[in-house]
């Protein structure tokens, strides 16, 4: 993608003086397997150009994947026409101005050049290990390279390219299953055989699960389940738009100690321990934001629109892509739950009676103001008794405030794992031990 050439054509064609061009080109390949064989194997080459045309306080948006010069000129006109017909929006304070960006390396040639044969070899090793254990494996491996460019009429010109590799598998036995996932911007972050071993070990631990009464229990969460805590808390209100509209769990809690002292949640777009991305979709550098510090709710993240609605606020560099569908609002996409000092083994050993949970599934918000979420456990739920894993149980449904759950955090794990987030970006999460978690029903 020649971003600068695309931006120049659009800007030259635009009747608006204030304009922004965002372009993303993606080459993504995904190999999907089930029943120990590859059943889908796909690749995509696409580009998306989003133009924001500004007339005073009116903003028109047009999106296209057609990079021919005539189409780019038409795109500029469409965005202008969409702005022209609107009434003024006094809440919009203009496109942001240029800020210095510190580049960060996150591109691995090995990911960008990964072939279908290499992906087949990786998933093949998972399938063979599962078959050798009389199990059936399903999952996927993705390799992706993405170039992003943002330019606006106020001097912003930001460009970044990065790679992403992700592999996950669910391995199923007679009546149990296990899960494993790995994510990174380097190909070496994906260790297929280790993923297979991890999932198969859960299958073995989970044989013949028994029914279990729902209720309040101490839980130890694998990083996969911890990731859901962060993702849903982000979705339910780590962005300033949700706080400004009064629908966030942070409303009424800012500055208050609402979680255990051991809980610190940071969004850091420049850490190479995550999936680094130095600027947001407006071209503003991503600042490291302490969202929760030692249990205290500190601040949501901002984009230029939400910062403009509060006196003295600046964007923290967390804009999401502009969309004609409306503002999603700023969002953290590089979340870290800062590690503690307790190993997973020590957490289990210190538990008189509780549950050890691999992952959560199909979680949805029930009440946004308290981040009450319902969902199921999946791919391995176990009873801990007297410091040891006693036996597997059938999956349980929970209905629980995630804010309250982290208030009862007794221990944070020492070893984080980087996982691709369902809401975009990635989260870095260790296991956690929570003294109280509410389960509301069980399944068959």
């Amino acid at each position: 993608m020649n971003f600068r050439a695309i931006a120049e054509v659009v800007m030259n064609a635009s009747p608006a003086k204030e304009i922004e061009v965002l372009a993303m080109e993606q080459n993504e390949s995904l190999t999907r397997f089930a029943n120990n064989s590859i059943h889908q194997n796909v690749t995509e080459r696409n580009v998306q150009i989003t133009v924001r045309s500004v007339i005073g306080t009116k903003v028109g948006i047009a999106v296209s994947n057609d990079v021919r010069r005539d189409s780019l000129r038409e795109l500029a006109i469409r965005a202008f026409d969409a702005a022209r017909v609107q009434p003024d929006n006094p809440e919009f304070k203009g496109l942001p101005a240029q800020q210095a960006i510190t580049p960060v390396g996150a591109f691995d040639d090995a990911v960008a050049e990964c072939t279908p044969e290499q992906r087949a070899a990786s998933v093949g090793s998972i399938c063979r290990k599962a078959a050798a254990s009389a199990c059936s494996a399903a999952g996927s491996m993705t390799t992706s390279s993405l170039e992003i460019g943002v330019s606006n009429s106020k001097g912003i010109l930001a460009e970044h390219r990065f790679t992403m590799a992700d592999a996950s598998t669910v391995v199923m036995g007679k009546n149990s299953s296990g899960w494993a996932q790995g994510t990174g911007w380097r190909l070496k972050a994906i260790e297929p055989e280790a993923l297979a071993d991890e999932a198969i070990s859960k299958v073995r631990m989970g044989v013949d699960p028994i029914d279990f009464q729902p209720g309040d229990y101490t839980v130890i969460l694998d990083p996969y389940a911890t990731a859901d805590l962060l993702e849903m808390l982000a979705f339910d209100g780590m962005g300033a738009l949700a706080v400004q509209e009064g629908r966030s769990w942070m409303n009424g809690r800012l500055g208050q100690r609402i979680m255990a002292d051991s809980v610190t949640i940071i969004d850091n777009g420049s850490s190479t321990a995550g999936m680094p991305w130095p600027f947001d979709f407006e071209g503003i550098p991503k600042k490291a934001v302490e969202i929760v510090a030692s249990g205290v709710a500190m601040s949501p993240v901002y984009d230029s629109f939400t910062a403009g609605r509060e006196e003295g606020k600046q964007s923290t560099g967390h804009a999401t892509p502009p969309s004609p569908q409306g503002r999603f609002g700023p969002a953290p996409m590089n979340l870290f739950l800062m590690p503690g000092s307790t190993s997973l083994e020590a957490m289990i050993k210190s538990t008189k009676f509780g549950l050890y949970i691999t992952r959560f599934w199909y979680t949805r918000t029930v009440h946004p103001r308290d981040a009450v979420v319902t969902g199921m456990t999946r791919d391995g739920t176990f009873v801990i008794r007297d410091g040891e894993i006693a036996h597997p149980i059938k999956s349980l449904r929970f209905t629980q405030s995630y804010v309250e759950a982290l208030k009862y955090a007794e221990a944070i794990g020492v070893t984080p794992r980087l996982l691709r987030s369902g809401f975009g970006g990635a989260v870095s999460v260790p296991p956690v031990k929570l003294a109280k978690f509410r389960f509301t029903s069980s399944t068959r």
Binding site: E28, S29, T31, A34, N35, S37, I38, H39, Q40, N41, V42, T43, E44, R45, N46, K58, V59, G60, I61, A62, V63, S64, N65, D66, D81, A82, A83, V85, N89, E91, T115, P116, E117, R119, A120, A121, C127, A138, S140, E245, G246, G252, P324, Q325, G326, R327, W361, Y362, V366, H367, R369, V372, T374, M376, R397, T399, T440, S441, T443, R444
Partner: protein, 479 residues
């Protein structure tokens, strides 16, 4: 266009494919969104490109590109074949596609008013008028609304001589009012919470009567803040047709997808309790429960001429008189059961492979007048409009929340209830259904946001439903 598609098919066959198909798609979407009296988003989104799917021996490959040029089609077709050859390194069962699909024709969604002929000014005016009515209520903290217009112009061809052109129009919109106190958020939306969307023209939007419902929506949102909380108990539950539509989507539509049954969604969307030995041999619901999958009912989000394998639109039963009788199928999965596809393969764009997706999965109307159903209920709760939803990976254990509920006492609708939830196990729930309202109350809803597959695909599905009654349901899961 035929030159392009033929060229790709010839290359695929020459390079070793035993089957190939190509879809070329031009997607246009225009959206107007308003919030709190201001524009939240106005603009359009275009996307065009092509995707080629090939079968080499028994292995699939798929490649796609936004660059619709001859040289790129040649590159992408060859790449799809190479990917299929790589798939063969981890082989599966033999693939049988059944009898050839040779469909030829053109389908266009019947519309009265082209939604793209309505100006942005007109769309904004409609949304601003509804928004202004909601904001007259001082208790409303957030008022919002949007309308969407979609046109998908697609071509399909395969190596079995099929050649199809379809122009599918979708229109829709919704309004919502949010009231917020120091401790809670309450929302009311109209016509439903997932945006009211169907295949149709601008007439579909005007039929929703946003301005006529804006005052009610605002008033109900504010009133919910001081309403009683839904009690925790086991009781009789009556669902409105829009909530029942989502119940059908999650607990009937998804588990009848045959790819889930065969395990190919195990790692992402999940599997199904409706395993193959249960077909024609499993009581899914009570005798009055009849569920149908169709792609022919007008205005459904699952309505089209042919699916993305070129199989003609049709209507097939899933549950008859409570017995589980059928699946949603592709050519490949149907042949594994000795059946023929019922045309459920759909892709959400040119860059995605077709998957088994719901078309319009609906419960057929019953015999009750809704008013008689309420009058016939001594003690229970009527719940309306979805707010939250979750179901396990086998599609058995579910929990739903609704925006609003009403106590039913002595056959009369009573006080307003908030934070309503209900939970159950799919076949137990449907077996407890003892009343379904008649055709006068039946309505075809759209679910425009159904996620499935990797990379994730978002599909629109249709669901027809009438209000229905269920006995001994656990409600008030989280107070």
């Amino acid at each position: 266009m035929k030159d392009f598609t033929s060229h790709a098919m010839n290359i695929a066959m020459a390079e070793g494919a035993r089957y190939a198909d190509i879809r070329i798609l031009d997607h246009r979407e225009q959206v107007v969104s308003v919030k709190n009296g201001n524009v939240d988003g106005v603009g359009d989104q275009y996307s065009q490109g092509f995707g080629i799917r090939v079968l080499v021996d028994n292995s699939w490959g798929f490649a796609s590109s936004a660059y619709l040029e001859k040289a790129e089609i040649e590159r992408v077709t060859s790449l799809a074949v190479k990917i299929a050859q790589a798939s063969a390194r981890v082989p599966g069962e033999p693939v049988d596609l059944g009898k050839p699909v040779t469909s030829v024709g053109k389908y266009t969604t019947p519309i009265q008013i082209d939604p793209f002929s309505i100006s942005l000014e007109q769309k904004l005016d409609l949304m601003f008028r509804a928004d202004e009515i909601m904001r007259r209520n001082p208790g409303v903290k957030v008022s919002e609304g949007n309308v969407i217009s979609v046109r998908n112009h697609k071509f399909f061809s395969n190596t079995e001589e099929a050649f199809l052109e379809q122009v599918i129009y979708e229109s829709g919109g919704a309004i919502a009012a949010t009231a917020i106190s120091d401790t809670e958020v309450q929302i009311r939306s109209h016509p439903n919470s997932f945006r009211y969307q169907g295949t149709g023209g601008w007439e579909y939007v005007t039929g929703a009567d946003f301005t006529g419902n804006a005052e009610r929506v605002a008033e109900e949102a504010v009133r919910l803040l001081s309403a009683d909380v839904c009690p925790s108990k086991e009781t009789t539950l009556i669902l409105d047709s829009s909530q029942l539509a989502l119940q059908i989507h999650e607990s009937c539509g998804h588990p009848t997808e045959l790819d889930r049954v065969f395990g190919t969604e195990a790692a992402f969307a999940g599997r199904s309790f409706l395993t193959t030995e249960k077909r024609n041999n499993f009581r899914y619901g009570s005798d009055i429960v009849n569920l149908t999958a169709d792609s022919v009912r007008q205005t459904g989000l699952g309505t089209f001429g042919w699916d993305d394998e070129g199989v003609p639109a049709t209507s097939t039963p899933l549950v008859r008189n409570g017995e589980f009788v059928g699946y949603l199928m592709s050519r490949e999965t149907a042949s594994r059961l000795g059946l023929e596809s019922n045309g459920c393969m759909r892709a959400d764009g040119w860059n995605r492979i077709p998957l088994i997706r719901m078309t319009n999965v609906s419960v057929e109307a019953g015999t009750w007048n809704f008013e008689d159903m309420i009058a016939d209920t001594d003690d229970g709760i009527f719940m309306e409009t979805n707010r939250s939803w979750s179901i396990d990976d086998m599609r058995l254990n579910f929990q739903f929340g609704t925006e609003v509920g009403y106590e039913i006492k002595g056959g009369k609708r009573g006080s307003l209830l908030k934070n309503c939830t209900y939970a159950g196990i799919t076949p137990d729930f449907w077996k407890s259904c003892d009343a379904i309202a008649n055709a006068r109350h039946w309505r075809l809803w759209g679910t425009p946001n159904c996620g499935k597959g990797e990379p994730m695909q978002t599909m629109g599905t249709g669901h027809g439903a009438a209000p229905a009654r269920f006995r001994n349901v656990k409600v008030g899961v989280f107070r």
